[in-house]
Amino acid sequence: MPHSTDERRPRDADCAGLAVVGAGPAGLAAAVTAADHGLDVVLLDSAVTPGGQYYRSPPGGLGATRPGALHHGWPVFAELSARLAAHRDSGAIRHLPNHQVWTVERAGDGDWILHAVTGAEGDQRSAVRARRLLLATGAHERQLPFPGWTLPGVVSAAGAQAMLKSGLVLPGRRIVVAGSGPLLQAVALSLTRAGASVPALIEASGYGAYARAPQVLAANPGKMAEGVRHGAALTGAGVRMLTRRAVTDVHGDDRVEAVTVSRVDRRWRPVPGTGREIACDALAVGHGLAPQLELAVAAGCGTRACADGTHAVTLDQQLRTTVPGVWAAGEAGGIGGVELALCEGELAALSVIREMRGGVQRAAARRAVALLRSRRRLRAFSTLMGAVHRPGAGWSEWLTGDTEVCRCEEVTAGRIRTACEEFGAGDTRTVKLLTRAGMGWCQGRTCGFAVRELADAHGSGRGAGEEPDGPDRRPLACPVRLSTLADLAEPA
């Protein structure tokens, strides 16, 4: 869709040139870049303060706690925030914090309508119209179940980090950090810096696997250096790094008292007889992140399967999705870290400008070339990272029959196996229909990956007749009051 005529359309108070969903690194970079180039932007974010996952900070008033101490990228954020404030003041950006978009709808004239809930109780509704859409909805943490993971004291790694960043509370005093992926190192460091003791960091993969792609590593010396720096800092803080191990049991009556850590083989199957107990009063676990795709799927954007086992929005070099008028940036297009998110946000905004105006000025074009190069390099690294930390197929062997997989609906691994073995379920949807796994509060955001893997093991990846093997569909990105929906009804 060329938009050469678009510029001549008067600025319209009711219809922004670009709507950006998500004010994390990607969305912030996109919004300020687009506004720098004269576009009128509306920026919606479900959080109260901008920053997303990475630059999460205490809500205003806790200024004394110096959140900068928890982020090495703080100056970048400070600069983005300042630009956001300037554009907000000049009216170039309409910033709508505490607006959770529950769906996006394409109007007859091709504009997008973003339906959001807002207000302290989430009971107010708001609809925003825009000519183009940029999705920077980020990711949520991926979890794998294991025996004992429902015991109080077991928290998600990202959750622990978020608690620290925004409320500055610790989940315990002696905290084991476990799972897989580079986030764990960042989390362990933050915990030790905040005064906790972290006796061990348990990583199910081996870092050695990175060596399989020497060119990718060579092209990303910064990532290498960061890894080394983290490693050294962790050792300095007394954290033992144990690789090819996983937490296979949690002990304690009404709270975590210890965990059993077992060796796992290359496929993540626990090796019998290798279990060793580590005393602790909390366990922070995470298995990387998974893109948040509700809105992209609602808009009809194509998705792809990534090396880390998640799905992400399909994007071209210009960060266009498969739907005209819709762009995406940051983790929605695949997990890749903050640097990539910043790079993609800016690149996506330039791509929007280019498409609207049929080109960009020379300086912007040069900038885009440089960003494109960084993006290629960083994406290569994130693909490698995803492949290294993708849960091995044997992880489900650490489940017992009574391990809960879906916590909301209390569905055990045993029931899922019965649905597959006796009732012929072979995909997520059928398992869900037969067991209610994924039907509760979190709508499968927590258990979705695990359920898919358990079902796939039986159905060899066969998709349901109607929807072959795509990402989970959640037409409502968040719960919405019935009256809020009812208010949208046109008089019959």
Binding site: T103, E105, R106, I113, H115, D123, A298, G300, E409, A419, E422, F423, G424, A425, G426, D427, R429, T430, L433, L434, R436, M439, W441, Q443, G459, S460, R462, G463, A464, G465, E466, E467, R473, R474, P475, L476, P479, V480, R481, L482, S483, L485, A486, D487, L488, A489, E490, A492
Partner: protein
């Protein structure tokens, strides 16, 4: 070697499952093929209402009444819980005018064997305490029941398996094998061939494609429906409750959006609000107007739901034939081909009677009711060839 097959059933939805159940029980050797999983098609989107209340006297109502008694039997015969419950339906009328229509309908339904009791305006809230005030009146249909569709389909197939039926999930049928004389001799899937003298088309909304593989026309079209699911609630709603206008929506021939929700509680707590009807092909995008109207009508019936949060919305595509009746029985145009599809918004309810009719027809037994109105070739305007 396995026993040679008598029947290949294409489709592991509730209809295919019921066909497999009754066919294997009558001693036939059966295989069920589906490109996905059990209940992976429209069955997984169905709400599981087994309604007689929404049907006017005629062949569909006869099928529904037969099915109602078969579901009752099945709920006792099947070994695991399919969440069968005869909770009854309550149809309410907002105006005196629609109450008159409702009462007339109920009178004709009673003549056809449906139990229907008038409920006066002042007694409505005895039946449903949270109903909106000021409704004109209603009608109680105690025979309306429900099952959990996916569980029911899976359990029927498991029982069929115990009588020897073979389930082949994850195999797409890509062709129908024919003898030189045109008679069916099995199906070809992406992976293999399954030989049998009888093929049952239980492919639901995709039944037209399957018929085309055998060279015949069967105009099954998708009719989209959305359902809203709320957060879990204590039991607020006892019956299946819907507005009297629903019946005319169901039988409407219009492609435009129709909504008049059936509101009901479920054993696990969420309230289901469904379902819209519109003919928009296989469009899977969320329709804000459709769900907004469902929400508005549900909140009008039950003001107590206004503040409740809707957790999710989902859709499905009802398999729809132009006269709103399913195709059930042998296809005179292709010997050995049987159809059991096109049940639109009532396939869960009508599944057992369909399965029984198909099993009897394959075995050459006298049908329990006149299958004439369901003749699969009734839309064929070309001259019939055999």
């Amino acid at each position: 070697m396995r026993q040679p097959l008598d029947v290949v059933i294409v489709g592991a939805g509730v209809v295919g499952a019921a066909c497999a159940y009754y066919a294997s029980r009558s001693g036939l050797s059966v295989a069920v093929v589906d490109r996905g999983s059990v209940a992976g098609g429209t069955t997984g989107a169905g709400e599981g209402n087994l309604l007689v209340s929404d049907k006017l006297p005629g062949p569909e109502l006869e099928l529904a009444l037969l099915s109602a008694s078969l579901w009752r039997e099945l709920s006792e015969e099947l070994s695991s819980d399919i969440e069968y419950e005869i909770k009854g339906g309550l149809v309410v009328a907002a105006s005196e005018e629609s109450l008159t229509t409702l009462s007339t309908t109920a009178a004709t339904q009673r003549g056809a064997g449906v139990e229907a009791y008038h409920v006066t305006s002042d007694r409505l809230r005895d039946a449903e305490p949270h109903l909106a005030p000021h409704l004109a009146g209603g009608c109680h249909y105690p025979q309306d029941a429900q099952v959990q569709p996916a569980l029911a389909a899976a359990e029927l197939l498991r029982e069929a398996g115990r009588s020897g039926a073979r389930l082949c999930p994850g195999e797409e049928v890509v062709g129908i094998l024919r003898h030189r004389d045109g008679a069916v001799r099995g199906v070809r899937t992406a992976r293999s061939e399954l030989r049998a003298p009888v093929v049952v088309n239980a492919a639901g909304t995709w039944g037209g494609d399957l018929a085309a593989m055998a060279g015949v026309d069967l105009p099954v079209l998708p009719r989209r429906g959305f359902v809203l699911v709320t957060e879990p609630l204590p039991r607020l709603i006892r019956h299946k409750v819907y507005a009297a206008e629903y019946v005319s929506d169901v039988s409407s021939g219009s492609a435009a959006l129709q909504t008049s929700p059936v509101v009901e509680g479920t054993p696990s707590g969420p309230v289901l609000i469904g379902a819209s009807r519109e003919r928009v092909g296989f469009d899977r995008t969320l329709s804000v107007p459709a769900i907004a109207r469902l929400a508005a009508q549900a909140a009008a019936l039950f003001p107590v739901l206004a503040d409740v949060r809707v957790m999710r919305a989902y859709h499905g595509f009802r398999p729809y034939l132009p006269d709103h009746l399913p195709a059930i029985g042998p296809d005179p145009r292709v010997p050995g081909l049987f159809h059991a599809c096109g049940h639109e918004g009532a396939g869960i309810g009508l599944a057992p009677a369909t399965g029984l009719l198909i099993a009897d027809a394959i075995a050459g037994r006298q049908p329990v009711l006149d299958p004439g109105p369901f003749a699969p070739d009734r839309f064929d305007t070309t001259c019939h060839v055999t």
